[in-house]
C-alpha cells in the first residue's frame, strides 16, 4: 500500500495581477479596469510536486522563479489559480521567523501567542516552554519586551517556537542566513532530529551548501516552472546550466558600466573547458578551465592591468590575480583574452569576474555580468579549495 503524500501539488498555477493594475475604489466603480491579459503574471504554472512523510526537499531557483509563491501556497496563505494544493497536517512556516511577535509583549507572552498561532494549546506550550527558552538561549530575557531584543535573540526565539511546535510540515525560507555559526549548527541538528521524528521539511535557500547538506532531493524552479525534481547534486548542476542560459538571454545588463572609465570594453566573457573549448557551467574539480573574453580598447591606456577574481558563493574571494598588460594599449586595438585556471576547488558555486584596471585601481572595463559556475567536488572534501591532501595510515 502506498502512503498518501504529505504534500501534493497537482498541476498548480498561480496568477497575480500586477500591482499597478489592482482596482481602486473609483476605478472599480467606473469599470475603468485596464486589467487586460497583459497585466496578469503567472508566478507558477503547471507545477507538480509530491513529498512524502519525513522527506526533506530543497527548492532552488533564481529570484522571481516562483519559490516564494510555492511556499505561500504550501503555507495555505493563498489559493492556487488552477490545480490543487493538498497538505496533510499542521504547517509551521519558518518563513521569516518571529511571525506574529508583538514588540510590546515579553518573550514569554510572545511564545504563547506564537504557539497558539501554530496550533498549540496553552498546555502544550507549557510543556515545552523550558525547552523553547533553552533552545533560544534567552534565559535572562524571557520577561523583557521583545522590542528590546537583539535581532539574533528575536530570530532564535522565533526559530525555537516553530521547530518545537512539532509541525507535520516545516517550511524553511532562508532561515539559515541568520544567527551566528554556532546557532546555525544547532538549527541544522534540530532540523535533522525533527525530520527523523517524521516531520516533512521544505527548504528554500540560495545557500546551495545548506540545501546539499539538508536535502537528498531538490526541485529546480525556473520562470514559474518546475524544471527538475530529483537528486540534489543533479539539481544544483541543472540550476547552474539554467543560470548560464538566462544570462545569454538577458544580454548586456550594463553592470559596472557606470563606474568604469569607459576606456575599454570587455565582451563575450565565457567559461570553457580548456581541452576542447566547449562552454560549460559545471566543472569537474581538478580540471583545467579557461576564461575567455574579447577586449576592445577605446582610449589609449599607458599601464593597464588584467585582473581575475574567483569568489565562493559565501562571498569569500578564493583567488585573485592581477597582471600588467605589457606595452599598454592603443585606442582601436582588439585583443582576445584567455586565462587558464586549474579548478582546484571544492564542490559548490563560484563566480568569476575579469576586469581591466588602471594603476590606481580605476576600473577601465568589466564584462556585463560575472560568470557563475558550479564545481562538482569530490566526496568528503569541504571548504572552498580542494588541495588534494593525501592520507596515510601506516602500521607502527
Amino acid at each position: 500500500m502506498t502512503e498518501t503524500p504529505v504534500i501534493d501539488v497537482c498541476a498548480v498555477g498561480k496568477r497575480y495581477v500586477k500591482y499597478e493594475d489592482t482596482p481602486t475604489l473609483v476605478g472599480h466603480a467606473l469599470r475603468l479596469r485596464s486589467r487586460s491579459r497583459r497585466s496578469a503574471l503567472w508566478a507558477l504554472r503547471d507545477a507538480n510536486l509530491r513529498v512524502e512523510r519525513g522527506e526533506c526537499i530543497g527548492v532552488i531557483g533564481r529570484n522571481g522563479s516562483g519559490k516564494s509563491t510555492l511556499l505561500r501556497l504550501l503555507a495555505g496563505v493563498t489559493a492556487p489559480t488552477e490545480g490543487t494544493v493538498t497538505v496533510c497536517g499542521q504547517v509551521a512556516p519558518l518563513i521569516a521567523v518571529g511571525v506574529g511577535f508583538h514588540p510590546e509583549l515579553t518573550g514569554r507572552e510572545n511564545v504563547y501567542v506564537s504557539g497558539s498561532i501554530l496550533g498549540l494549546t496553552r498546555r502544550q506550550v507549557d510543556e515545552r516552554f523550558d525547552e523553547i527558552i533553552d533552545f533560544a538561549e534567552i534565559e535572562g530575557f524571557i520577561d523583557t519586551p521583545v522590542k528590546f531584543y537583539s535581532s539574533g535573540m528575536y530570530v532564535r526565539l522565533g526559530f525555537a517556537v516553530s521547530v518545537l511546535a512539532d509541525p507535520d510540515v516545516l517550511l524553511v525560507d532562508e532561515v539559515l542566513a541568520v544567527g551566528d555559526l554556532a546557532f546555525q549548527m544547532k538549527c541544522f541538528d534540530r532540523m535533522q532530529a525533527v525530520r527523523e521524528a517524521g516531520t516533512t521539511i521544505v527548504v528554500v535557500s540560495h545557500n546551495l551548501n545548506a540545501i546539499r547538506r539538508l536535502c537528498d532531493r531538490s526541485a529546480v524552479l525556473h520562470a514559474g516552472e518546475v524544471r527538475f525534481d530529483g537528486d540534489t547534486g543533479e539539481a544544483i548542476a541543472r540550476f547552474h546550466e539554467l543560470l548560464g542560459e538566462t544570462r545569454e538571454l538577458d544580454g548586456d545588463t550594463g553592470r559596472d558600466v557606470f563606474r568604469s572609465t569607459g576606456a575599454a570594453r570587455l565582451s563575450r566573457f565565457a567559461l570553457v573547458a580548456a581541452h576542447d573549448g566547449d562552454a560549460q557551467s559545471t566543472v569537474p574539480t581538478g580540471t583545467l578551465v579557461r576564461f575567455e573574453a574579447d577586449l576592445e580598447c577605446i582610449l589609449d591606456m599607458a599601464a593597464p592591468y588584467l585582473a581575475l577574481h574567483v569568489f565562493h558563493e559565501s562571498g569569500v574571494l578564493v583567488y585573485g590575480e592581477t597582471v600588467p598588460v605589457d606595452g599598454g594599449m592603443r585606442a582601436g586595438e582588439h585583443r582576445h583574452v584567455e586565462v587558464d585556471l586549474p579548478a582546484a576547488l571544492a564542490g559548490g558555486s563560484y563566480s568569476a569576474e575579469l576586469l581591466l584596471v588602471g594603476l590606481d585601481a580605476t576600473l577601465h572595463a568589466a564584462p556585463p555580468s560575472p560568470i557563475l559556475f558550479y564545481v562538482a567536488g569530490r566526496d568528503g572534501v569541504r571548504g572552498v579549495t580542494d588541495l588534494h591532501a593525501s592520507f596515510r595510515l601506516r602500521p607502527r
Binding site: P23, T24, G76, V77, P80, E82, G89, L118, T121, A197
Partner: protein, 280 residues
C-alpha cells in the same frame, strides 16, 4: 520529542483549489482558532495600557470623561426633556457610540494591519476584525459596569428594566462585528475605505441620538431612525433611564442592517479569504 506527539485540537491540513473558501470551512476555521482569538484580544487590550502609569484606569476614566463633557456642553445650549438624569442619558449614548466607532475604525484596517502575519501563516482573515471586537469587549465591560454604578447612584435603578442591558450590549456587539467584518475585507481591496469610514464617522455621530432624544430631531427623523446604531443606543437607554418614543422601529432597522451586513461580509470573505494576502 516523541512525548510531544499528541497534537493540538486545531484542524490540520487543507486542500486548496480555486479561489473561494466554502463558508462552513471558514466558520470551522474561526471556531478552531477561538483560543487564539481570546489570547490575541486580551493582549491587544492590555498592551494598549502597558507603558502608562495609570494603566487600565484610563479605560475607566476616558469614556466617563467623554460622557460628562458632552452632557455639560450640550446642557448649556439646549434643554431636552429626557425625563431623567441627563448625564446618564448621554452616557448610555456615548458608551454605545464609542464602542461602535472604535470597532469599525479599528476593524476596517485590521486585516491590512496584520499583513505581516497573514502573508506567512494561514488563519481565516476574519479573525483580525474579530480580535478588534474582542479587545473592545474589555473596555465595553468596564464602561457598562460604570454605567450600572451610575444608574444606581442616580437612583434610577429598576432591576427588571436593567436586565435589558444584556440584549442591548449583545445587539451593539453583533452589529459592530458585522460592520467590522465587511469593512475589513473591503479595505484590503479598496484602501480608500479607511478614509471613507473616518469621514463618515463625524456626520454619523450627529445622526445618532447620543445626546438628543430620538423624537426631537425633526425632519431628519427618518434618517436617524434608519441608522443602524440608533437601535442599539435606544435599547441601551431603555435599560437605564427608559427609551425615547418610537424606539421599536429603530430596533427593527438595526436588526435588518445587522443581517444584511453579515450576509455581505460572508459573501466577501467566502470569495476572497484565501487570496487577500496577494494584495497585502
Amino acid at each position: 520529542m516523541a512525548a510531544y506527539r499528541s497534537r493540538s485540537a486545531r484542524a490540520k491540513g487543507f486542500s486548496l483549489s480555486g479561489p473561494s473558501t466554502p463558508l462552513p470551512e471558514l466558520v470551522r476555521g474561526l471556531w478552531d482558532a477561538r483560543d487564539l482569538l481570546a489570547l490575541l484580544s486580551r493582549k491587544e487590550f492590555f498592551v494598549r495600557y502597558r507603558r502608562a502609569s495609570f494603566g487600565v484606569l484610563w479605560a475607566v476614566v476616558l469614556p466617563l470623561l467623554q460622557a460628562i463633557v458632552l452632557a455639560v456642553v450640550v446642557n448649556r445650549f439646549v434643554r431636552f426633556d429626557t425625563g431623567g438624569n441627563f448625564t446618564l442619558f448621554v452616557f448610555a449614548g456615548t458608551l454605545a457610540w464609542s464602542f461602535f466607532s472604535q470597532t469599525i475604525s479599528g476593524g476596517t484596517t485590521s486585516i491590512v494591519d496584520n499583513a505581516d502575519m497573514s502573508a506567512k501563516i494561514y488563519v481565516p482573515r476574519a479573525l483580525f476584525p474579530l480580535v478588534v471586537v474582542g479587545a473592545g469587549l474589555y473596555g465595553l465591560l468596564i464602561s457598562t459596569l460604570i454605567l450600572i454604578a451610575f444608574v444606581i447612584g442616580a437612583g434610577e435603578l429598576e432591576p427588571v428594566r436593567l436586565l435589558l442591558i444584556v440584549p442591548a450590549i449583545a445587539v451593539l456587539v453583533v452589529l459592530s462585528t458585522a460592520a467590522a467584518l465587511l469593512l475589513s475585507a473591503l479595505h484590503v481591496y479598496f484602501r480608500d475605505m479607511k478614509y471613507l469610514v473616518a469621514a463618515a464617522l463625524l456626520p454619523w455621530f450627529y445622526l445618532t441620538p447620543v445626546f438628543y432624544p430620538l423624537d426631537r430631531i425633526g425632519s431628519l427623523h427618518g434618517v436617524v431612525e434608519a441608522n443602524p446604531v440608533t437601535g442599539a443606543v435606544e435599547l441601551l437607554r431603555a435599560a437605564t433611564i427608559g427609551a425615547d418614543h418610537g424606539w421599536a422601529v429603530a430596533l427593527w432597522w438595526t436588526a435588518g442592517w445587522t443581517v444584511a451586513l453579515f450576509a455581505l461580509a460572508a459573501v466577501v470573505h467566502r470569495r476572497h479569504d484565501r487570496n487577500m494576502s496577494d494584495l497585502l
